[in-house]
């Protein structure tokens, strides 16, 4: 499987599109376990444009987080290893950078906020110092004036993410803040170096519903101010429906469907997406007719032992007894436009 054939199949140029602030090409990341090599992410390609929010959905273990962590070199090696692919940001292939350059890009070109704000901050340092550290680490030999400037910038950032009394909060320790406040601090920290890409890995999973809405609103505000491209990793379809421009659906380490949020959610072209939507309670008042949620039968495949054909085939209601699904791995293809793609052999037959 060479890059050239992949590109031909996808019909895309090898170099990233000019408006793409993040381009992932053929990313494959594996983990070595006692029971063999596990492909956590296989041949994932997508683009994120400036000012756009891309939602990555899928269940636990479908490779959402691994995709994000691969970009920043945060995959623990060993056991993990990015075996192939390119991740382009600002004309740089992050996967080809040496450690020093990747470190320089981390936080300044690509920043990340994590799932659990309660434990993602260092417990023994003040909030302000932790934000300032992110700024200073990208300056060569910061002077005393630089440190002072970074401290002031930290307070400004706290104010910008809606932390009340930012001067005082900057002097506090993480345990003195609530979960929602800590996630705001994480966002301030991530935005401290004006990144081009912000990866938000389930940013609201650990927060309650009202705080969830506040944090998502804050992310939208920040995006409007800075035109940052946001990669929102989540398993919450409702969150996706309200907050993203385009969606990427992942299953067993592969992208099975991608497109605009309207297309994918209203007119899904992959049986897995259809299954996901059927087991999601609707929040729309128009759906006042009560319907039962239908679970997808079966379990996700064992990643050490993926079926040769379509990974979803054993659970697919559409397959019937067709052999093709079991024999051949389906590729992403237009469904029917280039903006909406699905990796199903029979995507024409998929109905919502």
């Amino acid at each position: 499987m060479t890059d050239v054939t992949e590109t031909e199949i996808h019909g895309r140029p090898q170099t990233p599109a000019s408006d793409g602030c993040l381009s992932v090409r053929n990313l494959t990341t594996v983990f070595t376990t006692r029971r063999g090599t596990v492909a956590a992410v296989t041949d994932v390609s997508f683009d994120l444009r400036a000012g756009e929010t891309l939602g990555i959905v899928g269940e636990s273990g479908s490779g959402k987080s691994v995709t994000a962590m691969s970009a920043l070199g945060l995959i623990p090696q060993p056991p993990g290893k990015v075996v192939s692919g390119e991740i382009w940001v600002d004309g740089k292939n992050l996967l080809a950078l040496d450690r020093r350059s990747l470190r320089a890009a981390s936080g300044s070109d690509v920043a990340m906020i994590f799932q659990d704000p309660m434990t993602s901050l260092n417990p023994v340092h003040r909030i302000g110092a932790q934000i300032a550290e992110g700024i200073l680490t990208h300056q060569r030999r910061p002077s005393k004036a630089d440190r002072e400037a970074a401290r002031r910038r930290a307070v400004e950032l706290l104010a910008a993410v809606g932390v009340p009394a930012p001067e005082r909060r900057a002097q506090q320790y993480p345990h003195e803040l609530s979960g929602g406040m800590r996630q705001r601090v994480m966002i301030a920290m991530a935005m401290s170096c004006d990144p081009k890409v912000l990866i938000a890995d389930e940013p609201t999973t650990a927060l309650d519903a009202t705080i969830q809405a506040q944090i998502m609103r804050l992310l939208r505000e920040v995006q409007q101010r800075t035109n940052v491209g946001i990669m929102l990793i989540t398993h919450d379809i409702g969150l996706v429906a309200q907050n993203v421009d385009r969606v990427l659906v992942m299953y067993a380490g592969r992208v099975v469907e991608m497109g605009t949020v309207e297309e994918v959610l209203e007119n899904p072209k992959h049986p897995y997406t259809v299954g996901l939507l059927r087991c999601t309670p609707s929040r729309l008042p128009s759906d006042s007719v009560r319907r039962r949620l239908t679970p997808i039968p079966g379990l996700p495949p064992n990643p050490t032992d993926l079926p040769p054909g379509c990974s979803f085939a054993p659970r697919c209601g559409l397959r019937g007894d067709r052999e093709l699904c079991l024999l051949e791995q389906p590729e992403l293809r237009p469904a029917p436009t280039d903006d909406h793609r699905s990796a199903c052999h029979f995507l024409e037959e998929v109905t919502p």
Partner: protein
């Protein structure tokens, strides 16, 4: 602040009351007595009785206890039953040597142990870790007095280092020479234990989310290690150091015997053998005080280090 010291003082008094009462009665339950120990097994009962009366041991036991308590309240530990010298004077003359030994062993143990533990955690499951873990396993399975004998055989004798006694503090060179081997013997065992604890602590912290955050910010690995792993990790090491120090004071009893160092340990062992009730009581009271004070110091230091305990 005043309240803190008042509480500390109260705790010290309570502990001392319990410990001194226990040791007073327990030591009198041990078979034999100072008179038998001094005069020998074959002494006539008459002579033993006379000596006991002279030592004041024929008084009713509660009268003796009352006398002991009133003396203690005035800071008087009494006189040795064997040589009549002031117990507090004797203890004060040897205590610095024991403290010196325990502190030196603590420094060696923590320096070596923490360094080893950090190296093991950073290179987890690679050769430095495997070698370090084997070393600490060996260190843990050797008792300190055995290490002491090995050190004498393979280091002191070939190098011609002194292997016994102490030197006054003013003769610094000679003092340190005589301190080195016993402190090493205790320090090696302490280092083995410390490296284990440090390793598991650091491995745990390296896997924590805030370390990932620091890496995502683009912080240099060296700085990640110091600010985001070692600084949060140093907190639990403080009480562990306190416990180590207390264990080391206990260990000193054996090591002082091996190296024939005058100290609290050897004083206590000799006093036990002579059934010198007052000296044993005095030693135990002093050791208890040291332990309570070390614990208080550890507590106070922990409060200074950990921001989370300040607002609570």
């Amino acid at each position: 602040m005043a309240r803190y010291f008042l509480k500390l003082f109260g705790r010290l008094l309570l502990t001392l009351a319990v410990v001194s009462t226990a040791v007073f009665f327990l030591i009198r339950l041990t078979p034999g007595g100072p008179a038998v120990a001094m005069l020998g097994q074959d002494a006539s009962p008459d002579a033993v009785a006379r000596l006991n009366e002279k030592l004041g041991l024929t008084d009713p036991v509660f009268l003796q206890y009352w006398k002991f308590l009133t003396q203690l309240a005035q800071g008087d530990l009494g006189e040795s039953l064997t040589n009549g010298l002031s117990v507090s004077g004797t203890i004060l003359s040897v205590l610095p040597h024991t403290l010196e030994l325990a502190i030196a062993a603590l420094i060696i143990g923590k320096l070596v142990g923490i360094t080893l533990g950090i190296v093991e955690a950073v290179w987890k499951d690679r050769s430095p870790d495997v070698i370090g873990r084997i070393m600490s396993l060996v260190g843990l399975s050797f008792p300190s007095f055995f290490v002491a004998v090995l050190l004498v055989l393979f280091i002191a004798l070939p190098l011609g280092l002194p292997t016994n006694g102490v030197a006054p503090f003013v003769e610094l060179g000679s003092n340190l020479q005589r301190l080195l081997l016993p402190a090493l013997a205790m320090g090696i065992v302490s280092a083995a234990y410390t490296s284990r604890v440090t390793r598991s602590l650091m491995v745990e912290i390296i896997g924590e989310n805030h370390v990932r955050t620091a890496r995502a910010k683009g912080v240099r690995e060296g700085r990640v290690l110091v600010r985001h792993v070692l600084q949060p990790g140093s907190l639990p090491l403080v009480p562990i150091a306190g416990i180590s120090f207390i264990t080391l004071v206990g260990d000193a009893v054996l090591i002082e015997t091996v190296f024939a160092r005058p100290g609290l340990g050897s004083l206590m062992v000799n006093a036990m053998q002579a059934r010198d009730y007052t000296t044993v009581q005095g030693c135990i009271i002093v050791v208890t005080t040291v332990i309570v004070l070390v614990n208080a110091a550890v507590d106070a230091f922990y409060h200074v280090l950990d921001p989370r305990t300040k607002t609570a």
